[in-house]
């Protein structure tokens, strides 16, 4: 049979992949970080980010963030047209400072989590999540 153009696109899985890979961080990411931290230094430990190495479905990628004692955690998808994903705020009565959500990723990119810790300092964690056509497993 002949494939229509629509089916052809579907063959490739994620049509978004026809753009240049991987998606680069854009200026909006730096702006969002600056707004959250006020330009403060970022420590490498203090916030944990759990995300898959390769997304099973780029349209709904599960992630989890955790930062003991934090008052807020911001999550950014550095390669999305709109990088902001979520800001989780934790009140003084919060039993734990962790949260999970799902996000949509336009392509392979870094997911970034930044936490405002109890002492007012900031910590950053990032992980590359790959969005792929797939289809050739052994």
């Amino acid at each position: 049979m002949e494939f229509t153009r629509r089916e052809t696109l579907a063959l490739g899985g994620a049509a978004a992949l026809t753009f240049v890979l991987p998606f680069r961080a854009n200026a909006a990411v730096d702006d969002a970080i600056a707004e959250f931290t006020g330009g403060a230094d970022l420590a490498d430990s203090g916030v944990e980010l759990t995300a898959p190495e390769i997304a099973e479905n780029g349209n709904t990628v599960p992630i989890e963030v955790s930062a003991p004692g934090a008052s807020a955690i911001i999550v950014l998808a550095a390669g999305n047209p709109t990088p902001g994903v979520a800001t989780f705020n934790f009140g003084p009565l919060a039993a734990s400072q962790s949260a999970s959500t799902r996000m949509r990723l336009a392509g392979t990119q870094d997911v970034i989590a930044i936490a405002k810790l109890a002492d007012g300092s900031f910590a950053r964690s990032a992980k590359t999540v790959k969005v792929t056509i797939g289809g050739c497993g052994g």
């Binding site: 052809t8 991987p22 390769i54 099973e56 790959k130 289809g135 050739c136």
Partner: protein, 565 residues
Amino acid sequence: MISRRDFLQVSMAASALVGASGFGNWSRLAAQQALTQDQLLQFDTFGNVSLIHVTDIHAQLKPIYFREPSVNIGVGDNRGAVPHVTGADFRRLYGIDDGSPSHYALSSGDFSSLAQAYGRVGGLDRVATVVNAIRADRPDALLLDGGDTWHGSYTCYHTEGQDMVNAMNQLRPDAMTFHWEFTLGSDRVQEIVEGLPFAALGQNIFDAEWDEPAELFPPYQFFERGGVKIAVIGQAFPYMPIANPGWMFPEYSFGIRDENMQAMVDEVRAQGAECVVCLSHNGFDVDKSMASKVTGIDVILTGHTHDALPEPVLVGDTILIASGSNGKFVSRVDLDIQNGRMMGFRHKLIPIFSDVIEPDPEMAALIEEERAPFKDQLEEVIGQTDSLLYRRGNFNGTWDDLICDALMSEREADIAMSPGVRWGPSLIPGDDITREDIWNVTSMTYGKAYRSEMTGEFIKVILEDVADNIFNPDPYYQQGGDMVRIGGMGYRIDIQKPQGERISDMTLLKTGEAIDPAKNYVVAGWASVNEGTEGPQIWDVVEAHIKKLGTVTVQPNDSVTVVGA
């Protein structure tokens, strides 16, 4: 790998860990000209626990030929490390004589002539003989199946895995993990798993909706053997919904989930496990990486990437065992566990030379029973081959060249694509090609051969994407498998470049012209992971092509130029 010298150093560093490999015992057999079953099975029982490992059988019940790869490139930290050493280099590394049985079983080179000398390998009835012999030495040995068992043959396809389930049940494994099994669809998987008389394990098999461990697949199982409390933790193939059609098992989510693996190791240790074994379908390099991150695993029985290594690879205090594929090998690992510590091990990768090892009569009878209803279909001769037909290798194999030719010819396409899977036995020159042989290299539940138009730019995107799934320097971003096979088009690949920059010089072979990114090309392929793919089944396409050819001769393929290896 562990060279003998390094191994001594490692043992001293670990102070309590001593080990030996049975490998030398059979490499020396070369000089003796004759192999016997006793020699292949010879093993001085050691310690208090025995593990028997089989993996990636791909439904091969009968003896086959299986050529190991000549091209298997390692990247990043694994550049030049086993299993990314092939052919003569592999033999030098392990001190294997050219022309010896180990040469034939473990490495490429002179395959066709050695195959004639040493004969076929594998056959689950021979595997049963080996398993029974080990059980005679150690009645409570643990038999562990690394998965990719219920996929890969005519009978397996037509019985939806039942032939393999019946055969394996007779072999009595203690636990199993999974990959291609899920391509039977989640309903069928559930139906089989609910009736299994052994543990179906996967710490990384999660419920997709709730992101919680799936109830059907416990993370681990305890066994008490030789007075030792052993925990076996399962690790299914992490990238199933990506490498295979996720729509066939939408209820499940996978991933490496090494943080959960660590939690499970800690949990079983807290419950008194004296020995922790991970039954894994991660692929060798992923397991190696995981072993460096997760602490407390004594043995990882690796799978998925089909590597056969005659000695364990040591990462920290963890030993990694690689037991090959297609029923060609059985690994025996004896452990000495004292006070919750692995004090030593003895290992042997047993090659299943099917002319040397006696078939187990009960298993042989069961196999014949499973095949009987399909006998005429299986044995029908479709053509002959003048060439060695094999699949393994990073970029192409003659089986795939033939399949791509069939796609281009039968589907009238400019370019053909064939998935870089690692299963599928070989045929040697002069062999008949039966229907069973064709199914052995094509059988799957999503085998429809599509015909489609793709732009040159999109073809490049596909190649770049697949290349990164193999050559990403971080094993956690690799899916295993090999490069998608291309017919009708040549290209250059620079392994060391990042995604998007590896592929260049794409050329349409029939005209010699460069591929135009904006132009549409007719592409035929198979094994699309997308739902609703239409076209004839790939095995029918290949059968029609071979029938027309009569005798198959595959020309050498030099259309892929590889740099940076």
